[in-house]
């Protein structure tokens, strides 16, 4: 068990170290998320659709799209110099490899959300104080499931010729349940409703996370072993 966690952490640390040496993908994903928010602002009539209505929606669409961009990075990294084969040869449990890849992706997506969420609050004048701690909790719960599914799918998509297109085509249907829950909950949080009113949504997200992380642990060997 100790080894399992150690391997996962080592792999995640490796991925993050590679990323932080250049910060290029993180920067691009952050800018992309910010631009989605800007585009959202200008693709509505501000007299017909108020900020409070479109703000949370724009945030989740930005998060979903930026996550797709970010997730493509994880396994593209391993494609160079046969790194994937080295990973395959490693005497490591496949579940640990999945957790490591997923962990790095999670940190990455959370960082992008760290850029997108404050910008959404700023652009759409969302009452941050009203939402309170519910918002970070919601972002975390939504991201775990998103990243679990995304890690599994991107490991496969990267082996195809149109990886950049294949990942969103496969991933977006899987994002409908978590996005439904996240949007429903965040509208209520920003609306000043108490946390107890969104507990149902949070629980739904937690179950989704649990199921798809487990599925990832079980299925990852089918994805990387030949």
């Amino acid at each position: 068990m100790g080894d399992f966690v150690r391997i996962a952490l080592a792999l995640a640390a490796k991925d993050l170290r590679v990323e932080f040496r250049t910060r290029s993908t993180l920067l691009a994903a952050g800018i992309f998320a910010a631009l989605v928010l800007v585009v959202f602002n200008f693709s509505r009539d501000p007299t017909a659709v108020p900020d409070a209505v479109i703000g949370p929606t724009a945030l989740w669409v930005a998060v979903a799209f930026a996550a797709v961009v970010a997730l493509n990075r994880g396994f593209t990294l391993e494609r160079a110099h046969g790194a994937m084969d080295a990973l395959r040869l490693a005497p490591a449990p496949r579940g640990a490899l999945f957790l490591g890849k997923m962990g790095a992706n999670l940190v990455f997506v959370l960082l992008v959300e760290g850029i997108a969420a404050p910008l959404a609050v700023l652009f759409f004048d969302l009452p941050l104080a009203t939402a309170g701690w519910g918002l970070p909790l919601l972002l975390l719960l939504a991201s775990v499931g998103l990243v679990a599914v995304g890690t599994l799918l991107s490991a496969m998509a990267v082996r195809t010729r149109f990886a950049e297109l294949m990942l969103p085509v496969l991933l977006l249907p899987f994002l409908v349940p978590p996005l439904t829950a996240a949007a429903g909950a965040s509208v209520r949080l920003f609306g000043g409703r108490p946390l107890s009113e969104v507990v149902g949504w949070l629980r739904f997200l937690a179950v989704y996370d649990l199921v798809f992380v487990t599925l990832g642990l079980l299925l990852f060997s089918a994805v990387i072993d030949e």
Partner: protein
């Protein structure tokens, strides 16, 4: 029968005959539904879609469920025939859901007053349609048969697991889709003539599923054979 091409030809002709019988049955259903089944009082002629839409839905759900089950079995057994079956089932399921997704709005417009509604069943069907389009796109983008089989099995299983989540997430909203009229605890709530036409249509669609899957399976068999002859170096 060790020659894959001979086997593919034999399967193709078996599947072709079954499909032909099913298509004749479909013609019979149309005649029966329009001429020999009473018109429903409140919905009028629009209700006739009942003999096409739910049977197609049944075929699509059967196809996707069997694809998911075959995917699980493939990961355990590693038999490429299971993969070929899963792919065939998914493709036939796509055709059936296309029927379901086009006939539904045609009925929905006069009865609901809207072509589309984000109701749990509509949403679920639409997302399954997209999921299996993605499944097909992934298959097309991969060349190594074993890799293709493993990847599509993973996606098939993930799709199976996703279904309850989609259903639950949309179910929290109100549904306007009609409640079941045939499969309900108190027994079917419709006249025997309607039930007869409906059940015939369900049987026809099931037969159509079997025929099409066998034909598609034969095609897959022939294609795999062709790929193995080409040496797989075209990828």
């Amino acid at each position: 029968m060790n020659d894959p091409l001979a086997r593919a030809r034999a399967l193709l002709s078996v599947g072709g005959w079954i499909t032909l019988v099913a298509l004749l049955g479909a013609a019979a259903v149309v005649v029966l539904a329009l001429q020999f089944t009473p018109t429903e009082a409140s919905q009028g002629l629009a209700q006739k879609i009942f003999y096409l839409h739910p049977p197609a839905a049944w075929g699509a759900m059967l196809a996707f469920a069997l694809c998911g089950i075959a995917s699980i079995a493939f990961l355990f057994l590693g038999d490429l025939r299971l993969d070929r079956f899963a792919a065939s089932s998914a493709e036939v399921g796509l055709a059936f859901s296309a029927v379901m997704l086009t006939t539904g709005p045609i009925w929905g417009k006069p009865i609901w007053g809207t072509w589309w509604d984000w109701d749990p069943r509509l949403t679920l069907t639409l997302l399954l349609f997209f999921l299996f389009l993605g499944y097909g796109a992934l298959r097309n983008a991969l060349h190594d048969p074993r890799e293709r089989a493993r990847y599509s099995a993973v996606v098939g299983i993930m799709a199976l697991v996703l279904v309850p989540f989609i259903h639950l997430s949309v179910y929290l909203f109100r549904t306007i889709h009609p409640k079941p009229v045939v499969l309900r605890p108190d027994g079917p709530a419709l006249p025997p003539e309607m039930l007869r036409t409906f059940l015939l249509s369900v049987a026809v669609f099931t037969l159509l599923y079997v025929g099409l899957v066998i034909m598609r399976y034969a095609l897959g068999l022939a294609r795999d054979h062709a790929e193995s002859l080409a040496g797989g170096d075209h990828a």
